[in-house]
């Protein structure tokens, strides 16, 4: 179903400020080291801001087991800039640490990892297609532990070309893993071009539905209010015998005009001039790190 903006939005202005600030963080992080993935990060900014500040029930602090709180797994680990920025601004680690992204001896590796002990990360990702299986395992552990909290995951659309996803999709429906909400970032782009040109995904919603999932769509994944409403709707659908999938349409590079409508910025950093232009389109709100 399509989500309408019928639910009253709390704190939307503050969250919108955070969205803009996270965009600035992403752009400055990748610019500084002249590497990283700004396109998909910008496309998922509203999703991450909503998830970590409005949707998930989170404990203070971080422990690996995450009992008694909602969990999130990022499967398409290359959009680490948005993950790191939102984690830092949610208080998992000092915001200044964003300065160390992709540098030697940093906890903020190119792709997220538990290996350097960065709070907020529960599994390494980057080699694609593995996150849904891990999320299912965590969801099963929650059921065994009698923990009624939820597990969220995010997947790139191009990533669905990896076969392991379909093993996981089949498993989750067949075993009624109904405390799982998997979101697919349907930006239609991957490194070599449009997903439908590289290897057509077709109707992602229908594919999940055919496997037995409860599927819903967020038509504009860059509309914060739609994202919040959609995630709330997804939560209301859990616990009913089916895993929940959100197919969320986003614009890669959203918020920076020259990064939109192209796959060129999937894994490319802006130069000094481009950064200035991009930042001018996203004026500082909560303070740069």
């Amino acid at each position: 179903m399509t989500i309408q903006n019928e639910i009253l939005m709390p704190n939307t202005k503050e969250l919108q400020d955070l969205v803009v600030q996270v965009r600035r963080d992403i752009l400055r992080m990748v610019h500084k080291v002249n590497s990283g993935h700004p396109g998909g990060s910008l496309g998922c900014t509203e999703f991450f801001v909503a998830l970590y500040n409005e949707i998930m029930d989170l404990k203070d602090g971080f422990d690996m087991d995450g009992k008694g709180e909602d969990l999130f797994f990022l499967s398409n680990g290359h959009i680490s800039p948005v993950f790191y920025s939102v984690l830092a601004r949610r208080g998992y680690f000092p915001i200044e640490e964003l300065n160390t992204f992709r540098l030697i001896n940093s906890r903020l590796q190119g792709h997220p990892t538990t290996h350097e002990g960065l709070p907020g990360v529960r599994v390494a990702s980057g080699s694609l297609g593995q996150g849904m299986s891990v999320a299912i395992g965590a969801a099963l552990a929650k059921k065994l532990n009698g923990d009624d909290h939820l597990v969220f995951s995010l997947h790139g659309d191009g990533e669905l070309q990896e076969g392991q996803n379909w093993e996981a999709i089949m498993y989750a429906a067949g075993n009624k893993v109904d405390n799982l909400i998997a979101t697919v970032d349907r930006n239609g782009q991957q490194i070599d071009g449009a997903t439908e040109d590289v290897l057509p995904l077709g109707d992602v919603s229908e594919k999940f539905r055919a496997f037995g999932w409860d599927v819903m769509e967020i038509e504009d994944g860059n509309n914060l209010e739609q994202v919040i409403a959609g995630l709330k709707e997804a939560k209301s659908r859990t616990g009913k015998g089916k895993p929940v999938c959100i197919v969320m349409t986003t614009m890669m590079g959203n918020g920076v005009d020259f990064m939109m409508h192209t796959h060129a910025w999937h894994g490319k950093a802006p130069n000094d001039e481009q950064l200035a232009t991009a930042l001018a389109q996203n004026p500082e709100t909560l303070g740069d790190y």
Partner: protein, 317 residues
């Protein structure tokens, strides 16, 4: 030399099953996963007694490894089991990223390793798995020798925090280790002391090494036999202590000589105490169909091959 008695042939995979049965009764955090090979892995009793702690993933090993990684988040101790080929080579990247690099407490339990699964042939006979697994940082690699030791190892790895690769096999083989012997990860076991040559064996080759030592003794050659059940971390001290005494070594394993126990031993010796070494292992080849005995004979992995290797290495001292 010390004599060992076969208490009655049994398969190491049944040792795994028996270990899982005990863990099911004693450790509520242990969970079991399997990719459509429950009967082959002998875990029916665990499943019957703990249905809520068993996860049948179907023929989908990649997903199984990922689910196992996820189950650790929440404090479970997953034992993910299938044939060795499908537990390693097929899912190497899943193990590498989601388990090893992520430091997850997953036990990868692999039956039908090596040539001795027999008639199914080379598609199912992995001779590269020890190498694949030992190269992963943080991975513990264990290859027990018989039913009793496999059972003990299965129970022991539940208390070890970190990823483990536990390798065992299909055929019924001599069961000779003490039934109550505690399994200590990384601690080699001296089976028979000797002075002329050190035989370092792992897995099914340990019994063959004992048979070889007995025959050598009749020829006046005193062989020291050590059971290297843990290939990583390797018990460097036990190996060096022995080779310093005997001056030469034969390694024996049901695995390719590239990447196996033999190469790990060679590294230790080259670094600390260079000594002549012969490798009883497959010679960079795939296997084929046949009975376990025929295959071990053809590929030079039995007591006769170990004996020949000892005679060869003694000449190089």
């Amino acid at each position: 030399m010390t004599k060992y008695t076969d208490q009655g042939k049994n398969d190491t995979r049944s040792g795994y099953g028996a270990g899982m049965t005990e863990l099911g009764r004693t450790n509520p955090n242990v969970v079991s996963l399997c990719a459509d090979l429950v009967g082959s892995l002998k875990i029916e009793t665990f499943i019957e007694e703990n249905p809520e702690r068993f996860f049948q993933t179907g023929i989908a090993e990649a997903n199984m490894m990922g689910i196992a990684a996820g189950l650790t988040i929440g404090g479970k101790i997953p034992f993910a089991s299938t044939f060795a080929n499908f537990a390693t080579g097929r899912v190497y990247d899943q193990i590498r990223q989601s388990i090893a690099y992520s430091g997850k407490n997953v036990k990868i339990c692999a039956s039908h390793a090596g040539l001795t699964l027999g008639e199914d042939g080379a598609t199912h006979q992995i001779l590269e798995d020890i190498g694949l697994m030992k190269m992963l940082p943080g991975m513990t690699v264990i290859n027990p020798c018989d039913y009793n030791q496999t059972k003990a190892a299965t129970i022991a790895i539940a208390d070890h925090v970190g990823p483990v690769y536990l390798r065992f096999g299909r055929p019924k083989v001599a069961n000779f280790t003490p039934v109550d012997q505690k399994f200590e990860i990384g601690k080699a076991l001296m089976l028979s002391e000797g002075t002329d040559v050190t035989i370092l064996a792992t897995g099914h080759l340990v019994w063959q090494a004992l048979l070889a030592a007995e025959s050598l003794e009749n020829q006046g050659i005193s062989a020291e036999v050590i059971n290297i059940h843990t290939i990583k971390p390797l018990d460097d001290k036990a190996i060096l202590d022995s080779v310093k005494k005997t001056g030469c070594v034969v390694t024996a394993e049901e695995h390719n000589y590239l990447g196996g126990l033999g190469e790990s031993v060679a590294r230790v010796l080259a670094t600390h105490h260079p000594a002549p070494q012969e490798f009883v292992a497959t010679q960079d080849t795939f296997g084929e169909s046949g009975t376990p005995e025929q295959l071990m004979e053809k590929y030079g992995l039995n007591n006769k091959a170990i004996e020949a290797a000892v005679l060869k290495v003694l000449k190089r001292k």
